[in-house]
Symmetry: none
Subunit: 134 residues, 4 copies
């Protein structure tokens, strides 16, 4: 089952609410199970780099079915997946802010958040996941 | 003055309403005055090509400050701007569905819609413009 | 002999003067004999598409050592160079506004102007060429 | 408020003056708040790589609203944003020479300088910023 636009809007809105609560201007992107863009919001005042980075995090989280921050240690020099981040046409992003979204026990897509500190982006992504996943 | 997220949401929502009314699954993208993405919705059932095409139309409409369909006759073989569509790294899209958004007499961004027949995409883009422009 | 920055500035300034005189907000690009960018101005209010198009015209004019408008008839369907515009990594632009710049009987670079009607762009490009060529 | 051509010329000229003073042949690029090119000079004798690098630095500085050199420590192996530089279609440049330009308390664009040693590029970029920012 693909995510519906209604679910995407619910997720984006939950992200906006959390972002405003912790005062982090950011971009929020949601992709489907095929890693293709479903929805995107850029909040007022978010840096432009957040546009590409939020989308990259969502792409990465669904590519690996992992939170992006969890990929980080695996791709360091000397680690098992060193170099992996560059093997995709859209380079993988391996710091926090991306997370898979599950529905009925299956990964249905992913969210990516960028614009704040890594921990803030992760909090906002978590709010999105919580609002949509079941 | 840049478009706010609130204005972008209003515009996207007006596009969704029109798209549902005329039963056209599509993608809707809104960019700012610098051609950078502000907001994006993909409606349930829209073809994947609508993702890039909607964004390309918004990019084009702001690049030229014209409706994308109005560029079409200018780039035909024999016409003054023949070949122009290919001169950008993100190729310009010259069929209808993209339109500039003005605020206070200045172009503040643009919308692009893709997924339906050209005339349908244009109708939806017009609904977005009408909801945000002033 | 390569064009100097001083010559480039003189050329750009002559272009600005002509553009203001005929009231055409545009972009003006000057490339060297290797087709690489030497100088660029975007005038207040020029459409964003003029950025890429001005550079593309300068690139094209030096690629062919011809005014860009003179290439147009050669690349039409049925004409000798049909398809040629797409054979370059930066697609050639075959409508007016680009022109080679000569020094001491040799092509030393080219100028590209975009943002106005083709005839206006050509006038501005001519002013630049006249100010630098000898 | 977007930067005017007059401000861009003032900035470029300040950069040229500093570059000549410290004898560094370089390229200087200024982009607007949407990361789109406003002005560019290549000084006599600057290496060709300075063309893309100067523009990339200006693009990066505005993408992040940071001096490019300040991004460097953040993207090292083990650092929070490891891998980020490659997440943009135009890869971010994370060594010094790019800097945001502010007007009236807002980031209005950015400058990028390339061609010299990093510290020299930074000095020249600073001269540009100082001449335009207020």
């Amino acid at each position: 089952m693909e995510l519906t636009l209604e679910q995407v809007q619910t997720g984006l809105q939950a992200g906006v609410k959390k972002a405003q609560e912790i005062k982090v201007p950011c971009s929020i992107a949601i992709v489907d199970s095929g890693r293709n863009l479903l929805g995107f919001y850029r909040l007022d005042g978010a840096v432009l780099a957040s546009i590409e980075t939020a989308q990259g995090k969502a792409y990465t989280a669904r590519s690996m079915n992992m939170k992006t921050g969890d990929i980080m240690p695996l791709v360091q020099p000397g680690a098992p997946l060193y170099g992996m981040a560059l093997t995709h046409r859209t380079p993988l992003i391996v710091f926090g802010g991306g997370a898979p979204i599950s529905r009925n026990g299956q990964v249905a897509g992913a969210v990516g958040v960028a614009g704040g500190m890594v921990e803030q982006d992760e909090q906002i992504a978590e709010a999105v996941v919580k609002a949509i996943s079941n």
